[in-house]
Amino acid sequence: MSILALLLSALSQGMIYAPMAMGVFIAFQVLNTPDLTIDGSFVAGMCACAVVTIAGHPGLALLCSLLVGAAAGWITGMLQTKVGINPILSGILTMTGLYTVNFVLLGGQSNLYLQRMELNSVGAQTQVASDTVYKSFRTLMIGLSGNRRFDSNLSALILTALIVAAAAAILAMFFFTRTGMAIRATGDNEQMVRSSSINADRSRILGIMISNALVAFSGALLCEQQRYADLNFGSGMLVVGLASVIIGQVFFGRRSVTLGIVSAVAGSLVYRIILQVAYKVEMPSYAVKLLSAVIVVIALSIPRVKRLIAERRAEREEDAA
């Protein structure tokens, strides 16, 4: 594969995972609360999308994934606020329960391909690939460009980039509305939100819903792009999201919520480029999770290491003086 093709594939994957990174950003940094629902809601988005896409509604499938993700987030949010269960355990409970829901969505099997059986002209059963938004968009691009061999990766990248740009813009704007600002403040100082006569529980639940809706949306985009849904695809997704968010913040920082959203998208792209490079040097695919975990550990240890270095330097200067 040429460098350009590698880059194209990396960017295309990065865009697909970008909404998930935004969701992780909302949970971990805006709301300042770890949420393990994410591993489950990613797959839930995938499964819901697969079912609706096979039924012949690829566009509607994307919307359905948003609703399924929001519903998962609502449950976690209720467990956290109304039942008072520790946030991490709340997420684990929802994630665990979702496994069954996802299994049922996939019709009692662990994966599902986006295709259905049809009778062909001679009356034999054949598999027909379901329409996806990516397929329709490529047809559109071929029509517009007149190029019958329009690169499918490129058309996928363009479509996902458009969707992600729209989602990021809407999200960034939302965080400056009263409701959005209340969500930010709830993560920053919940006591102050209550003192301002705002229902902090409601803000928190809404934040978790939006976060998981975005994560499920990523799952749905991936499902339509790779043409299948897999029950076990979500494990470790949270770490992938965190790695993306942290990598992005190396470039853009987290001075504001808008920059945080931009960072999440950029981080997701860079993360996929890193993975492509790793594959290029023949890293086996099963090493991905370890690599993600190591990236997150390194990134999270930077502040502590910086401080230790500064302290050591101060000590040396003291000794010298």
Partner: protein, 265 residues
Amino acid sequence: MSSLSLVGLQKTFEPGTPNAKVALDRVSLEIADGDFITLLGSNGAGKSTLFNAILGKFRLDRGKIILDGEDITRLKDYRRAYHIGCLYQNPLLGTAPNMTIEENLALAYTRKASRSFFAVNRRDTAYFRDLLRELHLGLEDRMKTRMGLLSGGQRQAASLLMATIAEPKLLLLDEHTAALDPATAEQVMALTRRIVAERHLTCMMITHNMQAALEVGTRTLVMDSGRVVLDVAGEERAALSVPQLLEMFQQKTQRSLDNDRMLLG
């Protein structure tokens, strides 16, 4: 007509255990519109518990809280906050550190602001700038600054503004100058007196400074073991000195009013 009525407030923490503690013991109070009450008492006398009861941080065992004719005893804390502003000792509690000064004010103002798509808008910002200018801290030129970058005194001043921005029916101040250095504390106290006077706020203030308790405000209460044991106002209060207050307390409770943090002058 009184602005705040507390009727027989009763609260025991951990009842039925060896740690059972009567935090509020049949506290009844009538607080008139425009009263500025200073509240004294040793540690554990129930001052903060009384505030938390009014704020709805826990359920009372018995009793009623009536604010401006409305029974708020069973109202959730955030709903009460619509009419009650509160300031704590810790300046970090009242503000969101990662949001700008402007956003903090806008959030506090959400209660009474007219509808707008974005929380921060030109009309409200102009209003906030006027309010900040009155603090004489130069914050009106730093509205886009993150709250976390301000000093404790500046944050407390901003918190005071946020607590009063929605014209509350009641303002509760829980030792809000105790964590500040003396000069800043004095500044914030002067600011408090001005804002309370200008807006004719009904206010209750917990303090450990007895001299201030007698000088500031219109009425002084002293609590002990969950009860209000002294209640002075008007001419009696104006003529009262700190030693006399201590003596009154001793006669009433057979104990002396002091603790390690109590300031006599």
